[in-house]
């Protein structure tokens, strides 16, 4: 009975809750420290996607986003950040992969899964979109072909409000 009540209370909470970007220190590909709460700067929408070099759906998603990224930038001043959860020595494989694919968006390294855990991301790829004001306006786990269109659509809808 207690367990049911606990679950019910938590479910009710879902109707009222709102999220914010956690404050975790990560590094970019040049080794510079980046505080994640500064990514949402109050000026631009933020698209954050979690990936790993061994995750094929993640690479498909990022390839698809890379193709439309110039169009997105022409339409919106959004900021795109791809967060790698590759562990240990594998985090040193991220830069070669990113550069060889010609991806020119920001990439951060999260080798101990600190940001991933703080955002309750359990499966990848996982994308989170925040509006200019830092409110989560879109969240999606998994990649369906053409799914990147949902990201820019969420930003468009939020901007017209």
């Amino acid at each position: 009975m207690r367990s049911i009540l606990l679950i019910l209370c938590l479910f009710l909470a879902t109707q009222l809750a709102s999220a914010q970007l956690p404050n975790v220190q990560l590094k970019d590909l040049e080794g510079k420290a980046v505080m994640t709460d500064s990514l949402s700067d109050g000026q631009r929408p933020l698209v954050m996607t979690f990936f790993a070099t061994w995750c094929k759906p993640c690479l498909r998603e990022l390839n698809a986003i890379a193709e439309v990224y110039p169009d997105w930038l022409a339409e919106s001043n959004l900021r795109l950040v791809a967060v790698s959860i590759d562990e240990g020595a594998n985090s040193h494989k991220v830069k070669p992969l990113v550069k060889s694919r010609g991806w020119d968006f920001e990439v951060l390294l999260d080798p101990n899964g600190d940001l991933k855990r703080a955002l309750n991301v359990q499966v990848i790829p996982s994308v989170i979109v925040l509006s200019r004001t830092g409110k989560v306006i879109y969240r999606h786990t998994g990649y369906t072909d053409g799914g990147e269109e949902e990201i820019i659509q969420a930003i468009r809808e939020d901007e017209t409000k």
Binding site: R2, L5, L6, C9, L10, L12, A13, T14, L16, A17, S18, A19, Q20, P22, N23, G31, K32, A33, M35, D37, T53, W54, C55, K56, P57, R60, E87, G88, A89, N90, S91, H92, K93, K95, P96, K99, S100, P111, N112, G113, D114, R117, L119, N120, V121, Q122, V123, I124, T133, V136, R139, H140, T141, G142, T144, D145, G146, G147, E149, E150
Partner: protein, 560 residues
């Protein structure tokens, strides 16, 4: 004095959170710049399996995790409820339920104090890594306190102390009196901030050092086999030290890390008294269409735990990831290599090359090529074991020479090509040749040589529909042949219907699996039926570890 967490406390906390939430949500727009304004978060994950096998009891098994928290710029509070009362197949070692994770983080001007269950990593994790990986049932969080200081000009200091989690053994106690404690400190200095010439030439040079101590009392006497009157005297403290250097300039990135551990007789090293060492070096180059990575790691006797008698998953302080090519496809990853705690020499490398769009070889949209390989052997080790002695316990085992190598454990050579042919068709081809010494690594099965071919294609049928097809074939030389086929229909925006079959040709053993996955808002749901072998599965639009199953499979994720 022991402190207890009672179920009524959990319920009170949940009720308090729900009462707070309306005022927090309403107050958000008025006080959005208040660094103490708390906002809630919630994550729910449930993985369930109903087995068709009548002899499996219980037939319904599930792993459930609920993460709840309150967050602001300066303060985070949170807890996790877990229920693995009847855990999924493969997670029996983690059986239990309760509130194993609680935390409070206080931040002020770039400094942070954490109290409760802590996750952290020093360097690459070779002396200390506290992390959670639900897919493989690992959570070795440290319950205690941690202080992180970010000083001016690129100096970072960390200090922590506490006791690791060991599944649900603490019950409602805050600490398990019978287990050991871990203390650690780490510093990282951005040297390039202090040397003007380096920062002017866009060069980054970062140095780090870590020190970790384990204090574990051994209550179990170990008798020396060759002299039953003698008992081993365990060192009261075990220390580990590591230092690292990372140099980045332009297209180059070099990393070097060395670790040393004092005498640590434990169940994994047969209670021998040798010291442990790890040396790892990586180098990468990235310029234009070409990039390359090469790495080497020599590790010896570095199984480092909170307890001398623990084996398997539990109580690991450090983490040595397998130092080889990561495989993404089911059959290519059929015999995954695991780091050998006794020691190994491991080498790996990869080259990426992008053939330009519009070029003769690259085609209209360009082509991505990747060549990777890894090679791992044991260490050439001489021991002081006397003839006729059944155990090495109590002896000192020394390696013969730094560059000496022993038995071959594993190698692979993998070639991969990705190419978009047209707007509606793109493909990925992979070939990998692997060697896996099952006899040494698992204790049976001889040496396995295999060739694996993968064809992975995407067909865009319409604006809303696309089909992904996959064909894999793995031939284990003089053993057997495995085939794998998959068809995945993507219905935009959020539905994926997939059917897969894995076939062991010689035994005519099929592993068919049908699943449907969908996402709506913050929810993700997947329902599957069939039979699967264990391994990494990248279908349904996500990558996840799947245990061996036969039955109905349900997966639910919610994040807010």
């Amino acid at each position: 004095m022991s402190l207890y967490i009672r179920p009524k406390h959990c319920l009170s906390l949940a009720v308090a959170m729900v009462n707070l939430l309306p005022s927090l949500a309403q107050g958000e727009s008025k006080n959005s710049n208040n660094p103490w304004r708390l906002k809630p978060s919630l994550g729910i994950q449930n993985e369930s399996h109903y087995s068709f096998a009548k002899d499996m009891t219980p037939r319904l098994r599930a792993n459930t995790y609920i993460d709840a928290g309150l967050h602001s710029t300066n303060l985070d509070l949170g807890l996790r409820f877990e229920s693995l009362r009847q855990p999924l197949p493969g997670y029996e070692h983690a059986q239990g339920w309760g509130l194993p994770h609680l935390y409070a983080h206080l931040r002020y001007k770039g400094q942070e104090l954490q109290v409760g269950d802590i996750y952290d990593q020093f360097g690459s994790g070779m002396v200390l890594r506290f992390y959670e990986d639900r897919a493989i049932g690992v959570d070795n969080a440290l319950r205690g306190a941690s202080l992180r200081l970010n000083l001016d000009k690129g100096i970072r200091l960390k200090a922590l102390a506490g006791q690791q989690r060991h599944f649900f053994d603490r019950g409602s106690r805050l600490y398990a009196q019978e287990r050991g404690f871990v203390y650690g400190a780490d510093t990282e200095v951005s040297i390039s901030e202090y040397i003007k010439g380096l920062s002017e030439r866009n060069t980054s040079l970062v140095w780090g050092a870590s020190f970790v101590t384990r204090d574990a009392t051994s209550h179990q006497p170990i008798i020396k086999y060759d002299d039953p009157s003698k008992q081993l005297r365990f060192p009261s403290l075990v220390h580990a030290f590591a230092t690292r250097l990372n140099y980045k300039r332009g297209s180059w990135d070099a990393y070097l890390e060395y670790a040393h551990k004092s005498e640590d007789p434990n169940a994994t090293n047969d209670y021998t008294f040798g010291t442990g060492q790890i040396l790892m070096a990586t180098l990468s180059y990235s310029r234009g269409a070409l990039s390359a990575f090469v790495g080497a790691r020599r590790s010896e006797a570095f199984d480092f735990r909170s307890s001398q008698h623990e084996r398997g998953f539990g109580l690991k302080i450090n983490h040595l990831l397998p130092f080889n090519t990561q495989q993404s496809y089911a059959l290519a990853g059929m015999n995954p290599y695991n780091t050998q705690p006794a020691g190994e020499w491991a080498w790996q490398g990869e080259i990426h090359y992008r053939l330009k769009r519009g070029s003769k070889l690259g085609g209209r949209y360009g082509t991505q090529l990747k060549l990777s390989g890894s090679y791992i052997t044991g260490l050439d080790k001489a021991s002081t074991k006397a003839e006729g002695t059944a155990t090495l316990a109590g002896t000192t085992a020394h390696s013969k020479a730094f560059f000496a190598t022993g038995d071959k454990y594993y190698y692979d050579l993998t070639l991969e090509m990705s190419r978009k042919i047209s707007n509606s068709y793109s493909l990925n081809l992979l070939y990998t040749h692997q060697y896996y010494n099952r006899q040494i690594l698992e204790g049976y099965g001889g040496e396995l040589y295999s060739h694996t071919l993968v064809y992975d294609a995407k067909h865009r049928l319409s604006k809303k529909l696309s089909l992904r097809t996959e064909l894999q074939c793995r031939r284990r030389v003089q053993r057997d042949t495995w085939l794998y086929g998959a068809a995945e229909l993507h219905i935009n925006p959020s539905i994926i219907l997939s059917i897969t079959n894995e076939l062991w040709l010689e035994e005519k053993e099929h592993y068919p699996y049908l699943s449907i996955a969908t996402s709506f808002g913050s929810h993700r749901l997947q329902l599957g039926v069939g039979k699967t072998s264990s391994g990494m599965n990248c279908s349904g639009g996500v990558c996840r570890y799947m245990p061996e199953t036969e039955g109905l499979y349900f997966s639910y994720n919610f994040n807010l």
